[in-house]
Symmetry: C2
DNA sequence: GAGGTATATCAACACTGTGTCTAATAATTT
DNA sequence: AAATTATTAGACACAGTGTTGATATACCTC
């Protein structure tokens, strides 16, 4: 099933490059197939051979990223891992994002798809909830749900801010900060920080 | 400047109603002016007399909401208020949102505009930061920025969840939960909850 | 390398929505 | 009642969409 044809790989690469370029300039809703094809230097019919519309293109690119990220995070989420801490998962995710900074345009940029960002964050969700439950056995499911809704959205907000500042800080630094806020709330400001 | 003409008020009301209806069914990018006008039962030329395109319509509706909310929150944000706590502000905002649940479609629904939701949340931002600074004088500006990025996004995530569950809980309950998470992080699960 | 196959290109097509305009009609204000 | 303003209906050129068929070319297998 894997397409090994040089032509389609070149075509898809051209489309991908033109698409991410355009996404830096304008929101997805004002990107037409026509202008994308002109920017990519391909025929419009060729686009339709691979995608049905712009949103299908975005979805397919996001799926690619998702599998890439899952692959990159696999060692972190291995069942064998016993000394797995939320901090390690967070750091891993943040590290992945930093290594694929260009891709973040699609998810975290001003015209990004935050719903997909939420899915990325949720990659470590099960592990998270599991370890939370270990610590807070008497918490209700509803409480955990609301808490997760809060902190996952919070992490995305943190990531947006990080990207907006050019990802100047290190992934560890950001993950540590996220972890502190998640664990202690505003109290994180009182703890020692490097 | 206030338009007192019956006709334009009826027209705008029809547009608004048709628009929020459509937003419950599909994302804004796939709502055409034509179908909106048919749904509203008005002439297409009339739409152009008031708005330039669909996004201009959304912006203008959001501006209306924003001023409404500012008005509703004014007593809470008065300079005279001395015993103003973050919890009171949060409760006020959550209460406003609950009282305008239909409007939340535009901001918090699955096809909503989360950027605007962030602006709504930020209504109390200055007051927030001010009171935070009072408690944490040695916190750096950067830390406060990241913290605010986290918790404002987190509140939106919480609101989305709330809306998704039909706003079953009370505004006070939600505000209290938000406040606890913001103040104590995961630790909020250990404190007494009603 | 020659073969057949798959892919990209080009031009053309009907179709839908856009944005603007004019003349006519209806409601509102003065 | 007259003047102003808002809405309507129809028409227009224009742009983007999605599809089709014919042609050329790059690819992989043998």
């Amino acid at each position: 099933m894997k397409t090994s044809d040089h032509r389609v790989r070149v075509t898809k690469m051209l489309i991908r490059r033109a698409f991410t370029d355009l996404l830096r300039q304008k929101p997805i809703q004002s990107i037409s197939i026509k202008e994308l094809c002109i920017a990519a230097g391909i025929n419009r019919g060729t686009f339709y051979a691979h995608y049905t519309d712009i949103y299908d293109l975005r979805n397919k690119l996001e799926e690619e990223m998702m599998t890439d990220f899952q692959e990159a995070l696999r060692p972190l989420l291995e069942i064998g891992e016993k000394d797995l801490t939320p901090l390690k998962i967070t750091t891993g995710i943040f590290q992945c994002l930093k290594e694929n900074a260009d891709v973040c345009t699609i998810t975290l940029g001003p015209y990004g798809d935050r719903e997909f960002a939420a899915r990325l964050i949720s990659l470590g969700r099960e592990k998270y909830v599991e370890s939370y439950k270990r610590f807070f056995r008497d918490a209700t499911a509803k409480q955990l749900e609301y808490y997760y809704a809060f902190v996952s959205a919070g992490c995305i907000g943190l990531l947006e801010r990080w990207l907006a500042e050019g990802m100047a800080s290190s992934a560890e630094e950001m993950a540590d900060m996220a972890e502190r806020i998640m664990m202690h709330g505003i109290g994180f400001l009182q703890t020692d920080m490097t």
